[in-house]
Point group: D3
Chain length 316, copies 6
């Protein structure tokens, strides 16, 4: 069973809207090696896992999989922020906020020039479940052979490829909003790669000097370096509410990446940051309330809220 | 940010394996109107939501969306149980457990006769992210127009269609494992339908006698009746760890389905049941450990587990 | 602009329901060489046609394209009739009409055994826009190069392949409902092939003995022979309301298939047969009316119908 | 059975070619909520409809569905006109009309810069069955649950979403060719929305102030206002040749959109405008006739046209 | 540049037709981890390879890739043989060879009962570019990151998964035609896995006891054991006509699978066996020659054949 | 069985990188009418061919099919060269070769502006198995009805459409690298069209003045004229190592295109040109070797190469 807290797993740095960067980031969200892929793949691997004696491996996959849901939330929100307000950003406005299209204005003209037109036409300047070339995410991406070593090997390759792509993304844009999330995910992909590599180490592989794969030397990117200095590439959280995860049996000892750190699984979750609801965008008719509807919304929001029994059985 | 607890949201009744029923249930997991769809759709709608004054609507969608992750877990596990051991169930065995294919045996012959061959060939008798006709789940299913009324209307239709399909599924199989999950999801879909219908009610629609849509009268199904008698169709949990959800501002008052109950959002989450790891299946090479590998797995599982700091900031 | 008349283009012979045959016929509806393909392809070729001096070629394509809409209607209705009531046909009923699933009955069990489960689960025993292997129809099928000779050559190949597949379909089932529509479409595909072959003849090709392609000798099939004896393979209707079609400039003279007939474009349309609305199916919740809803439907159906001005400008 | 008349359902205003606008309009043609979708969806819903007592609902869907074929024709032609001649429009020509590519000229260079390269490479500056992001139309879009209330609810949502997207399209381009068709379709989508909303009203829903959904206030767009002033949002034609449609039993009374008008189904069809064949484009080899071929085409076009028997049985 | 010789890379054992086994084998041909995948993936990796100093790695990939074309040919032919004549095998004939469908016979009825109906309807009892669940092969399967270590790691995982699936296929059917090709491909996949594992060994990984991945112990299958005893799992051919391949610099030394053998790259290619053309199948209209056409075919086949200059430059 | 030689089938002219042209050429590689399509289609038609008496037709298809593999290699390499180094070409560099992204540089910014972002993000400035609009290649493209005349007719149309699209591509770019390969493929498509047209001629069709289809008069393009003057449009190679091909029985006599030449099948293969490995691109991490890894690669490349037995049985 899953729970939610209204916090983002990492802060997003503020910068100008940038729809081209937003579209590039879609690869990290809905691409074949993006966060939706890892989220769904690890969820299926956890559900279908076989062999009670291998529980620590299941728990490792499940913990990383739970983190990936928060990564989908993080990169989705980042894309939405990069898109939000981009009509005005493009300098082709006509005051979109006030009177969308009134008298024949063209507030959304930017949609024809930048990235994916669906960001403005199908969605309302928000993230989409597609990759940077516009392909919808597909269930055919998910790999779950049921063979433990193969699944771990695939997961290692998946995290490594995700990191490679994010390093390339970093080189495509200097937008700070984009880079803050790209850099965080580079380091977290590295942590997951370390986890799967360590698991394979327990099953007979000696990586010697091979890790990390690939050797992108991402510490050259200042935002990445800051996070590596904090050791985030060697930490794994459980995201487990009742301390039943045994992932820490695997995620310990010297990092297989040979960076001199030890793997550390002693924290339940990172401190998050409060998430915020995006502003209205009249030119997208989102949420699309006229005066009358706004009054109804506000009336509903003013209704009394009953007390909620927070003593969930398993947490008692 | 998301958290997990090693519990299923509802118990699964034990019965014989039944790969044809397993395949039918794939529609409820990976179909256009299945649980993966609702999970991802509500996640995107929550991320891209606009308008702070409409927070209770966002929280309603987000809470239902969090529940859907647990539904994916539940129906995926149900499918896996229906498949597990089906080679032996088919009476065409040759002792699959012991010596898969040794001397030319054909322990997986059932794969050619029933449901989706990928259940045995690509997966290891586990759930797949596809529908009952074998189509992979697609990101193109997700609807998120950004217009509040339209998104709510779509969600209502989505839950109603999901329930319609599950009522048809109920009529396709008498297997108790399948029916226990089908029946639970019928009732929960009804609760979600009530939530979206109530939200539209606050925005100006009067449903009068129209709900539920469709009128399947599923109380004729004994397993459904039991849950309806418990009132599960009128409850919505928050799955929110820090009591910030305002969904209860909407999910209250007389049920729009006119069944005489009041909507109730006063519980954080249902009591779950412990989840279990599935047994090994040698004929699928899953997890695929020979004696040597088994020893390595057991050695890893015996490693010491460090203490985990469970005092997650937001929960303190 | 398009108009409709509540008639089927050809009668459908009555026989037992047969879901396996229904599924096979889906290829003729939603397959790569089925009627949806020809309908959409010719519609696009008509819209995008270039060169006013070549109007007779455009009109030939447009007239055949209009006929294809009626073919979609015909084969779709045939599939629906083959499915309708198949739960009872399978002998696994429990009185589906009366009490779907009441007390735990399994009236739709047949869905797990025959053809495409979506016929019972996603649709309500009706036709789907998919092929016989369950692939959804795709816009990528449509061919419209804009080059006149190439488009005609493709259309010839398309009709020939459609006829080849329908001859194979004929060999797969003895069901009379299926065969009455298969046979009609074999002969109409032949007529369309003759039309495109004749058009290419005017542009320089001499087919000599090559036609028909392929030489399936479908006259061996009794139902086909009856229609060939009526000369339907050498007729083309205009389906044009205002006699502006010039297709007849091409569709005339000796048939390129060398069967001794002359091509004839002197009729606007065949005589149709009245179409009928399918009966209710309670086990599918279709249309899904309980007593109260039925009363509302009947009340609406009893409302007065205003006079309709049938003097459409272009027809005056 | 279907018929055609060589007329467009609405005039298209003349303006400069604009390939970016053409590509945006593809969403309205081949997108998930475009005209191909409504055309095919309503065709399938009509074919598979169950329940003779509900005939007025079937006839409403069928009549709107027939109109959608004409909408496909209209928006397809609009896209073709926006593309036609765009090589010259881009100022990168070299006289495309005369000598395509002779001596190494680059008349189609614009294809690399604007919209969808397939418009110039796969088609010949004509419409394609794809959406604005290049995804081919898919049969998986079609919704036809067979449950009357659900199908009507879906259709309402579909028309509403189509209208929302067209309002966004209006805001993306000031091209008059594009806007004339966009505006017409906004108003017709509104009429269809009113039809489905009224049908649901007869089945128990009271929309009160909720309609139209969404409240885009498109009357701010001058071209839309002109059509609304003519009342086109409250009219529905039957497109039925023999006056058998009973759609008018539903489409009557006060508009559910509360705009003070009454719904009116008393006309068979709007007056159309003659459609025209597009000019040749040598740089696309379309139709691609050299001198010799041109002579053959003209010879064929000069053949005598036999009289056509226009006394179609059902129309007598 | 590529050349062909009219020989199969391995003999196919004769057995009864078996359409269900044929369909299962489609996974090995057109599945995500089948031979089309490896063929195209290695072709792209060879074309896009970077770094002249790493030529032996490119040559290893290119040589294996060339072998995969022959594997596509082998498994495709195997599937075609398993299908060929299956109408008669099913006992539902009516003499298909003689008079397909004459007088209303149903020679292809088996198509409705077994495997993939497209084998009889779209193809003529031949192989299709789809997987065992009917999904068409997709270019989205191809992995080519451009990073050498990642590409090698992926290729290792790909071969391992291919072998896992083929071991499962072996367990699904006892048909000797199917098993002869399955067994050969299991052993060749093992050889390719060894090649990629060795390449990674040169780049820093020590596999210790981890290989082979997975440990399926396929030597339990008698047909596999025979080939392993011949050492085929430790050989790699160059398929290179001019001895420029440097793959042997990598494919040498002790096998990373620790089976006591040494890797051996000293042969250009295995001895093949002559390939044969399949017989005619009248019930499929394939090749579809009536008497007249047959005469034309024979006349063409009797034309004189000019001498061919076999002194290809590079081979001189 | 297939063999390879490390040569390209035609030289590629050197010019500036041009990512927009590279993307356009993807249609010729991975498009519905591109070289992957012909390669795979002819491979399947050869494998599934029926009728030993028609061997010359099989051999014609197989020989052309083998050539298509070399065409995939040629156009893939051309695309890779057009992409290679384009970051620097765009003038937005920061010395990509030396320090990718160091200190926050943006060496890959061009990826957001030109063609397909996947060229830089998923691949490493190399060819992809997709078309010019980014759609992945699909097995559903492959046509293989099994009927000889239909398959030949389809192949003729396929080559003709491929040539039409390449003529349009020629008109889209003046880049010499792109045009050298486009022009070569235009002429080779013409040769293949001649082959299939001749085969249909032997089966009863008289093309008279119809060929070539379409009449693009590509001799107006200087690079094409040069190759036509060499007669390459009337030659077909066997690519057969043991002189068993009988394609020459068909590919002889006057060209069906009536250009005054005779068809000539007397050569085994054209002289190729040596192929070269592309340079490293640090900003793509391809091959991605740091100092340590580079040393390992060089050590492997320095290993001794065993003698290879080049006396392949069938060639002895």
């Amino acid at each position: 069973m899953y729970f939610h807290v209204q916090q983002l797993i990492n802060p997003i740095v503020q910068d100008e809207p940038d729809p081209a960067a937003a579209n590039a980031l879609q690869e990290g969200l809905g691409g074949q090696f993006g966060e939706m892929r890892t989220m769904i793949q690890y969820l299926f691997q956890s559900i279908n896992f076989r062999g009670a004696s291998a529980k620590p491996y299941r728990d490792l996959i499940q913990g990383i999989g739970t983190e990936e849901i928060s990564h989908v939330e993080l990169i989705g929100t980042t894309i939405a922020r990069l898109l939000d307000g981009s009509p005005s950003y493009s300098g082709k406005k006509g005051d979109p906020v006030d009177e969308p299209g009134a008298g024949g204005a063209v507030p959304l003209q930017i949609a024809l020039d930048e990235g994916n037109i669906h960001h403005y036409l199908v969605g309302a300047q928000g993230a989409l479940p597609v990759d940077a070339a516009g392909n919808p995410w597909s269930g055919s991406y998910v790999y779950n052979s049921g063979n433990l070593v193969l699944d771990l090997l695939y997961n290692l390759m998946l995290e490594s490829t995700g990191r490679l792509q994010k390093c390339r993304l970093y080189e495509m844009t200097a937008n700070k909003t984009a880079r803050s999330t790209i850099s965080y995910l580079i380091v977290r992909d590295q942590a997951h790669e370390n986890g799967y590599a360590k698991a394979l180490e327990t099953l007979g592989v000696n990586w010697r000097t091979a890790l990390p794969i690939p050797k992108t030397n991402a510490e050259r990117f200042p935002e990445v370096k800051r996070l590596v200095d904090l050791g985030l590439q060697s930490k794994q959280y459980t995201f487990d509410l009742t301390a039943e995860s045994e992932a820490g049996r695997i995620f310990q000892g010297a990092s297989p990446s040979n960076d001199g750190t030890d793997l550390d699984a002693s924290e339940q979750a990172p401190d998050g940051v409060p998430s915020e609801i995006a502003p209205e965008r009249p030119e997208e008719f989102s949420p699309g309330a006229d005066a009358e509807l706004r009054k109804l919304i506000e009336a509903a929001a003013a209704l009394e809220l009953a007390d909620i029994d927070m003593t969930f059985g398993a947490l008692k």
